[in-house]
């Protein structure tokens, strides 16, 4: 398995995949907002609102905080491209996209940590209390969600014995008994990880700027204009990618194996359906739970870590 010389079809598939993520990520954000508004009896701002925000930001001037270094300016583009790069590696249109050989789950997790680390460095660059606090809290969440993610990956990759996402998908759809207790637990853990990694509600409130409780927003506090837009857009993509990875692992059925136009279109339709469903699910969770105290956050993430390890263990005890 390796990358052979690129054919136009492959380039097209990858380009489409990138484009899909770029365009769809803000829409998904909008969708979650709509469902949340609906659940709390508010008037939604519309599906395109995140896009409008982004475009507005891109048009604004950049205000740089005093005492910043070059790192501060470099971080948003790097962050953005790392996430975008990850979106090329996650299979969602096809089981085995052209870049499948690099679609290694460990690499994916690595890329997400890279993105996080970059963002945290940017936050600490100026040395404001909020930036430092955000970076610190982000790492506090991540030091357990990242291993939990890896453990989840390991659990799902136990059937294929490999961390290549296409092989995982294949091994999970390949006539196996689809219901495994370990997978269930892993899925549960994944939900917790998802909420933690993407600054969703019991962990962080994406909508608040209440200084003492925020994590993600605290890191972006000094950014403005296009730089902020890149950060926000990247984060939206990250959320989408996490959902896509979740789909790959836990609900991969319906993903086309062969790259014909028809199957891709059908697959995209199924995928869009799944995403809308999941987005509603997130909104539901966010509406049901209140934000955790910051000191309780490690308990939450530890739960994710323990669940994921438990899933791994269960596989050995019950399923082999």
């Amino acid at each position: 398995m390796a990358i052979t010389s690129p054919s136009p079809a492959m380039v097209a598939v990858e380009a489409f995949q990138l484009l899909f993520v770029l365009l769809f990520a803000p829409l998904l954000y909008g969708w979650i907002g709509i469902v949340r508004a609906f659940l709390s009896n508010r008037t939604p701002a519309g599906l395109l609102q995140p896009w409008r925000n982004l475009l507005r930001l891109f048009r604004k001037e950049t205000v740089l905080p005093e005492g910043h270094s070059i790192l501060f300016i470099l971080v948003p583009p790097v962050f953005f491209s790392v996430i975008a790069g990850a979106s090329l590696l996650v299979p969602f249109l096809l089981v085995s996209p052209p870049l499948a050989p690099v679609a290694d789950a460990v690499t994916l997790v690595g890329l997400f940590s890279l993105a996080r680390m970059t963002m945290a460095l940017g936050a600490m660059d100026v040395g404001t209390p909020f930036g430092d606090m955000g970076a610190r809290r982000e790492m506090m969440v991540a030091f357990l969600t990242e291993p939990a993610t890896l453990m989840i990956l390991f659990t799902v990759s136990l059937w294929s014995g490999s961390t290549s996402v296409p092989s995982i998908i294949r091994s999970l759809t390949d006539g196996h008994d689809p219901f495994h207790p370990s997978l269930l637990i892993a899925a549960l853990a994944f939900i917790l990880v998802f909420l933690g990694e993407n600054a969703r509600l019991p962990i962080d409130n994406p909508a608040t700027h209440l200084e003492l409780t925020m994590i993600h927003e605290a890191m972006l506090l000094e950014y403005s204009g296009p730089l902020l837009a890149l950060m926000e857009w990247g984060s939206m993509q990250k959320l989408l990618l996490y959902l896509l990875i979740g789909i790959d692992f836990f609900a991969p059925s319906g993903m086309p194996e062969d790259p014909t136009l028809l199957s891709v279109l059908a697959g995209s339709g199924i995928l869009a359906g799944k995403l809308l469903l999941l987005g509603s699910g997130i909104a539901l969770i966010e509406s049901l739970f209140a934000k955790l105290r910051i000191f309780r956050v490690p308990e939450f993430t530890a739960l994710a870590y323990l669940l994921s390890t438990l899933g791994f263990l269960l596989h050995f005890v019950l399923e082999v």
Partner: protein, 683 residues
Amino acid sequence: MIPPLTTPLLESLWILAAWATTGLAGSWLVLRIPALSRFLYGLLALESLFMAHSGFRGLAERSDTRLVLAGGIPGLPFHFRQDPLSSFFLLLLGAASVGTLIYTGGFMKNEPPRTNALFFLRTALFLSSMGGVFLADDAYIFMLSWELMALVSFFMILTERKREDVRRAGYLYLLMAHGGSLLILFAFALLASHGSLSGPHSLEDFSFFSMSKTLLSPPLALLVFLLAVLGFGAKAGILPLHVWLPLAHPAAPAPASALLSGIMLKTAVYGLLRILFGLEGLPQLHASFGIGLLLAGGVMALFGILYALLQSNPKSLLAYSSIENIGIILLGIGLSILYLKTGHPAAGAVALSGALYHAMNHAFFKSLLFLGAGTMVHATGETDLNRMGGLLHKMPLSGLFVLVGVFSISGLPPTNGFVSEWLLLQATLQAPSLSGTILRSAVLFGAALLVLSSALAAMGFLKFFGIGYLGQPRSEGARDAHECSLPERIGMGWLTLGTLFLGFFPAFVLSGIRGAVFSLSGADLPSFSHEFGWTWLLPFPPHGPSTSPIFLAGLLLLLALPVFWLARLPGRGRRRSAPAWGCGYPGPTERSQASAESFAQPIRHFFPVFFSMKRHIPTPDDPDPVFSLAVEDPHWPLLYRPLFRLFSLVAESAEKVRTGRISVYLVYSFATLLFLLSVLRWR
């Protein structure tokens, strides 16, 4: 007239001699003409380069040559051997030390000539003795080099011997090192005394060749394993023998720390591999040894990084992080034993290559980071991260180098730390192929600890870089910081390049490791055979997927270029500056920045069992309210102090023998005589 360097072994031996002579002659020269020192360090670096070449050549040719030189004790001349394993570590030694040596030339230039000359001598002898360890092929020359290495490094730590804490650290270090050596000696003795298959015991039994023919009973095999692990562990900082490490590194000058942590710790890894795989031999190991090592390594990794997170001295932080990294390496070795002994050679080979790869990585990025810490301390005159800050403005280039190190040690793609972590994780993923829940759970546990500690490492090094280099200066020293000298930058640059190289061209590195792994375990690594194979990591499971750091890097670069443009485009490039948001306070001061301790706070809360804390929270009516927190390594109150008390107790009771009264002494003699006579008569 130099004999032709027909084998890498000869080349290596010549370089050992060259290092030593350069050291002796050079220190004399430095004493007289201090200005020469940076050239002389350059000369040493050149020799290191040759050593790297020799190691490279040995790996490329897969040469395995032996040589016997006159010397040693009668009947046991000096045996030398360079096999792929030695070559690998020689390459590590040579390549990583080049950067440190060049750096040292700049670092030491303002020291008094005497200190400079002594340090030069010690550095050279240190390199030479480490090379001796890697090349030794009998127990005597091994122990000789090993102890010499300990001794020389002891003096390197003692460079600032006027400081009490330095002397204590040096003492503790040498004590631990010597204790370890004694255990190693015991292991060798057991191996040698069971070595001769036929014929009487002779000194030839102490050659590694003869030792590798040993047949040990299972309990003895276990004993040798334990002795080797503890003996080499004392040097590598295995729990609970690690206590010297976090004391020695802050005490030693930065280049010494870099050599100590970057390279010397690897001699312990080498020794462990040599004894376990080379001398005791795979057939005599047991899978449970692997489990033990795996779990020990995992716990060590977690412990190391947790304590690293707590440190506010950058060098202590790095020292604890070394414990973590050695833990990861041991984990890999344990994993490989486990797999190899249960009939999974491919997985075992991958685990072993992961361990070796990590050893190489650690040599580069840890040296780099220690040198970076050295520049931080030099530039600011401070040893506390809380009094640094904003150094990236003053020291952009060295800051950039350190940043590369930070990314690498955090195991982020596409750096080298990620590569070794990938290999180890892939190896742990082969757990399902093992039979038995215990084995699998052990591997699982190891994997869980591995991923947890690498996630924590990212946090720790974010703290290291974020507090030290980012933000605003927190002290006068940090405000007046300056970029380091040219040799220092070159040295760090070399290490940075090496780090990047190791990350981008794993296939190349692995082709070298392949020989070492094969010579150790008899198992081969899977590989790609197609034309782009060199851009990839090895495929694992065989014919399975892989990853390609350089491809990833290229991809990211390809994407980042348009994004940069995007970042500038719509705002018409309009930019202005404004004060940062300080929560409504007029001017945020440097004191409002996060402190180094704040990073550790959630960790302390989350892992209370690991820490023994003394916290003082002032009461409301306290006239002088100062919050204080002291965290102590629990090994001190739980292990070392009781042990010392026990020793004192024994020593006290031994004093009772010494009554000072002649009559009592005569009674001793009398009783001894009567006792022996009666034993003899009525036995």
